[in-house]
């Protein structure tokens, strides 16, 4: 099993309404020099979370005590654009987050999240605004992310929206499987196909 199974998650959420958050912000390039996958939470949003001398920036949402321990991040439109670095998805996971909600994700980041056990939930711009408003009004607002029923709900008011995920990826997340398990099972089919390639 590559990561912990995902089923139904109810949690408070960090709000980060900035648009076009790129993966260079999620983890800057200078922190990609590890050869093992561990402790990527330390440099998660390094330059937005800390001053250059390492002092935490008090007004950055991920540093606010009131949201501490949240397992969901609600991000602005076009979250995760730019570099393909999976380190960005690892840093999300290592920080303790299991779900990112946004009205639009960049493709590679979304794929990377699914591969490492972080559920990217795409909602309408209107519902994203509803979530931001609710969190701003009450930082202890809980959000329920129900993967089996593909539904995200604002617990206090019951407002909800369905989200789309393909059945294959959903099954993987529910079971903690990944693509390599699947592909190794059809190895013979792949090698037969490879024989037909002209180069």
């Amino acid at each position: 099993m590559a990561y912990d199974k995902f089923d139904v998650l109810t949690s408070t959420a960090y709000p980060l309404p900035t648009e076009n958050v790129d993966t260079d912000q999620i983890i800057p390039a200078r922190f990609l020099k590890a050869t093992e996958r561990k402790d990527f939470d330390i440099n998660f949003f390094r330059d937005w979370r800390f001053e250059q001398d390492g002092t935490p920036k008090a007004d950055f949402p991920l540093n606010k005590e009131i949201y501490a321990g949240s397992k969901i991040l609600v991000g602005g439109r076009n979250f995760g654009s730019g570099s393909s670095r999976e380190h960005a998805a690892w840093s999300v996971y290592d920080f303790g987050l299991r779900c990112v909600i946004s009205s639009a994700f960049a493709d590679i980041f979304k794929n990377n999240c699914l591969n490492v056990g972080v559920l990217p939930v795409q909602v309408s711009a209107a519902f994203a605004d509803t979530l931001f408003a609710a969190i701003m009004a009450d930082p202890k607002t809980e959000i329920k992310v129900d993967l089996p029923n593909q539904k995200v709900t604002l617990v206090a008011t019951g407002e909800s929206e369905s989200f789309v995920i393909n059945t294959y990826k959903k099954d993987n997340m529910l079971n903690g499987f990944d693509d390599i398990d699947y592909l190794k099972n059809i190895e013979n089919e792949i090698s037969a196909f490879a024989e037909t390639r002209p180069f």
Binding site: A2, P17, T18, E19, N20, D22, D24, Q25, P28, A29, R30, L32, K33, A34, T35, E36, R37, D47, Q52, G76, R77, N78, S81, G82, S83, S84, R85, E86, H87, A89, A104, F105, A106, D107, I108, N111, N112, N115, V116, N166, T167, Y168, K169, D178, D179, I180, Y182, L183, K184, I186, E187, E189, I190, S191, F193, A194, R197, P198, F199
Partner: protein
């Protein structure tokens, strides 16, 4: 039914369609580098898997490498460790490896085409978003994450839903001083950084037909910056001419067989795209960015738009200009700069150095500017020397460095200091991309050269007109 180029290449690589899921997609060529592969090899070994097709896998060192004294041991221990890991993993698994000092070494997206590894109709992936570069040859090429690198090493496939298709047509003739980089920055400024999310783009029209292979690589390289999975251009006589005789291209009868296939790689009349855009070459001028994503670009003579004139995201827009220390309405021409970077997988090819030299020839580097001129590969270095461009560069007061990704993402020592302003031919102007607190203006090699000799942001047409 009429097929698109993209459909032809994609459909011929589907091993199996998963019900309600992605396609099992076969990969012909897999490039790896030191940053996104070590964890993939650890995963491979911990599962007891091996590299199934080492001959389809190619390793080069580029992201971390120094651009001076490459003959000496790499000083940064973390970079040295990653470079060692790449070499060790390549050796252990029988993968060809171009490390520092190897004459074939250079940026992955420069050395792939140069060595004839990139071929029309092939599928190519790499743990790097700018893998889209290889689409210039009519290949389907895109960036993947490290989990997928492990997937390709151990199975030669990834699981991918087929993207939607987009065609971008640019017709007409480009004006004086307008380069492929400007065409790409212009398209991105129209599409925004997310306009092509979920799509694979085909570029078509006179402008791309007239463009050199180097220029096509620049355009396809930047596809990712509008959110596209990748971009491609149908192969033509120019493509085949470029490929013929390169180290790893098919030879003899194999070449003839390959050509028969490659000549079928075009979008048929009447084929339908999910969405299509048309732009006019005459509307494009030399471009420059002013914000913190590549979509925030404009003609170099224009002024920074006001937040009110844009759709949505006013707060984010103002935050971006705040980071850059620019104001709405500012003109970019005449802004004093500190650094110039010529290089990267976007603009580190011979044509880019020719363009740069056409401007700086007979002029002098401005004293306030620190310039890094970083070729994309040793082969580019050799071409620069063979054409005598190195003398033009030296006479103008510049220094030619050794190949690598360098200040594009500043994983090595080439970092722009906090607050300093850099005109860069690279692909990203994100916050801190060229070093914490650094500020980047993306531009063509011509704009970079004109700015490097004048010390302020400069329209290259003023110099080209003076030269005429």
């Amino acid at each position: 039914m009429a097929n698109t180029l993209f459909d032809k290449v994609w459909d011929s690589h589907v091993v199996r369609q998963v019900k309600d899921g992605p396609d099992v997609f076969f990969i012909d060529r897999h490039f790896i580098h030191e940053v996104t592969s070590p964890v993939a090899f650890l995963g491979l070994e911990s599962r007891g898997n091996s590299v199934v097709y080492p001959a389809r896998t190619f390793a080069t060192a580029d992201h971390n490498t120094p651009t001076i004294n490459q003959h000496l041991p790499v000083e940064d221990p973390l970079s040295a460790n990653q470079l060692d890991a790449l070499e060790r993993n390549a050796k252990k698994h029988g993968i060809s490896h171009w490390g520092l000092g190897d004459l074939n070494n250079g940026i992955v997206h420069v050395v792939g085409p140069e060595n004839g590894i990139t071929l029309p109709g092939a599928t190519i992936v790499c743990g790097d978003s700018h893998t889209s570069t290889h689409g210039a040859f009519g290949a389907i090429a895109f960036g993947i994450g490290t989990s997928e690198v492990e997937m390709v090493l151990s199975t030669q496939c990834i699981m991918q839903p087929k993207p939607k298709s987009m065609r971008i047509n640019v017709n007409g003739k480009l004006g004086l001083g307008v380069t492929p980089k400007d065409v790409a920055l212009y398209i991105i400024s129209k599409q925004t950084t997310s306009g092509a999310t979920g799509f694979f783009v085909e570029y078509a029209g006179d402008v791309f037909e007239d463009m050199s292979m180097e220029g096509r690589m620049t355009v396809c390289n930047l596809s990712i910056e509008m959110g596209a999975r990748g971009g491609m251009i149908a192969p033509d006589a120019k493509t085949f001419e470029y490929l013929k005789g390169r180290a790893q291209t098919p030879k003899g009868a194999d070449w003839d067989t390959a050509m028969k296939y490659w000549e079928t790689l075009y979008t048929e009349e009447g084929a339908e795209f999910d969405v299509e855009f048309n732009y006019d070459a005459a509307d494009i001028e030399p471009m420059i960015t002013y914000g913190t994503n590549p979509g925030m670009g404009m003609g170099v003579t224009k002024s920074i738009p006001t937040a009110e004139s844009l759709e949505g995201g006013v707060e984010t827009y103002r935050k971006s200009l705040g980071y850059m220390s620019f104001n709405e309405g500012d003109s970019m021409i005449g802004k004093e700069i500190d650094f110039v970077f010529l290089g990267s997988c976007t603009n580190g090819r011979i044509e880019d150095f020719r363009g740069f030299c056409s401007i700086v020839k007979g002029r002098q580097k401005a004293p306030n500017v620190t310039a890094w001129l970083v070729p994309g590969s040793h082969k580019v270095v050799d071409q620069i020397k063979a054409e005598g461009l190195d003398k033009i560069i030296t006479d103008a007061g510049f220094v030619l460095r050794e190949p690598g990704c360098s200040a594009c993402l500043a994983m090595n020592d080439d970092k722009v200091p906090s607050g300093k302003l850099s005109v860069s031919t690279s692909n990203r102007n994100f916050e801190g991309r060229q070093g914490p607190g650094s500020r980047t203006l993306l531009a063509s090699p011509l704009v970079a050269a004109a700015s490097a000799v004048s010390g302020v942001v400069t329209d290259p047409r003023t110099i080209l007109n003076a030269n005429a």
